[in-house]
Amino acid sequence: MKNIVDPVKLCPAEREACPLVEELASLRKEVAHLRKLIRIDALTKLYNFRHFKEALTTEMERTRRTGLPTGLIIADLDHFKSINDTYGHEVGNMALISAATLWMKQIRQLDIACRYGGEEFAIIMPGTRLAMAAQAAERLRSVLANRPLVVDGHQITLTASFGVDCFQSGEAIPADEFVDRADHYLLKAKKSGRNRVCFDDVGMKDRGTELSVDERRLLFTGPYAAKSNDRDNQWQSKRKNKGPNQNVE
């Protein structure tokens, strides 16, 4: 870190106990302190953990009051320890900066991106449902995987695993539990091969309350069913020459 400067070189008169140098040193200290206060992570320029906790609590409160859900993405760079061990911490830092920079360009103005831990990131997405948050995570995954780090002509592929979850207004859970839920999907992503996005897609598979084909067919009986079947048959025979249509039975 280049904070320690040769005090003699800094001083315009090249003196040793220079008041200017002392002033500089104390200003630098203050800036570092202020930076903590404004909650930015110095390396990645994303929000830091302290801000993340507060922002998440605020957004969950907003969800409770407005009814709009809050999405949460937790991302973790894959094989980060091995990148550090193989290429050194400087490169490790570059990887973090690269991911942060790429992702900042992808997210929306209102999303809150944070450096959550060493190689962990969290993105809070206000007013966002699970499907959209999951799609956003997939974009982040893809953009990172497609942009390897280049160091001394060396290409280092970077990937990350993602866990996505959504907080709805009916739920009565604290922020920690919400984070744990997203973390659970992150773990799932890691365990099932890394470089992927995991979330609760059961809801999407079972189609919720949408009426099934059977329900729709059985709802009208007698004359109505007979009439509509006839119409269907007539129409189908007219179409015979035009090839199959996937969307009707």
Binding site: R64, T209, E215, L218, L219, F220
Partner: protein
Amino acid sequence: MSNNPLTVCIASGKGGVGKTSITVNLAMSLLKEGKRVLIIDGDLGLANVDIFIGLNPKTSIRDVVERGYDPKVSVCFPRDGLGVLPASSGVPEMVSLGLEEQLRLEGYFRELFKSFDVVLIDTAAGIGASVIWFNTFVRSNLIVITPEPTSITDAYALIKVLSKKFNRTHFQIMVNMAENEKECKVVFGQFNKVAESFLGVKLDYIGGLTLDPIVPKSVREQRPFFESAPRAGISAALKKVALKILAIERDLQTKTA
């Protein structure tokens, strides 16, 4: 009965099947049976209840929500014992009230309800947030269907959402605009079969109304048919529905007592 009034939500999914007409005339019928009735126009952005009764209200639910008006002030009394809380016309924002506003309104409503025996809430068409909201805070859900496949499908979809996502288990069904009484029973029969087997809900048939030119005439004249044509067949049929609703409520009260 007045501390725990019967609250009924009239919904259908499909628009134009007669919800408002049924709500207003049912209210008139219940009034005749000696009950104090409150009608809430739950079609918050496109008020219709006031039109059906020939009211020209100066304030509405909008003033309660946006200006903090005392809801009691916004209730009109077009007849003795009949209160009407009108909606606003042409206010899209009312359709998407936030959770907080909804909760506050709910609080006002519960206070208001104490002065009535029966509360009828006429909802908008569709399965939007306000429709769901009204359907989940009343005690009784009345669904109106017509013999048209579109009406049947939409009503079924509404019931499916209310039962699967909001745990409503009992629904009262009315058939409207049928050719005759037989058609009412056939339509209900099939609807009931599908709902019971796929959704496991209990549907009570509470009556049917047939197509009658008296109805559109009464809408144009802005005078409920139950008042202008009390001896018409349709008024008699509606009275049967009102009595059925009251009977079901009485049974419920004696069971819980």
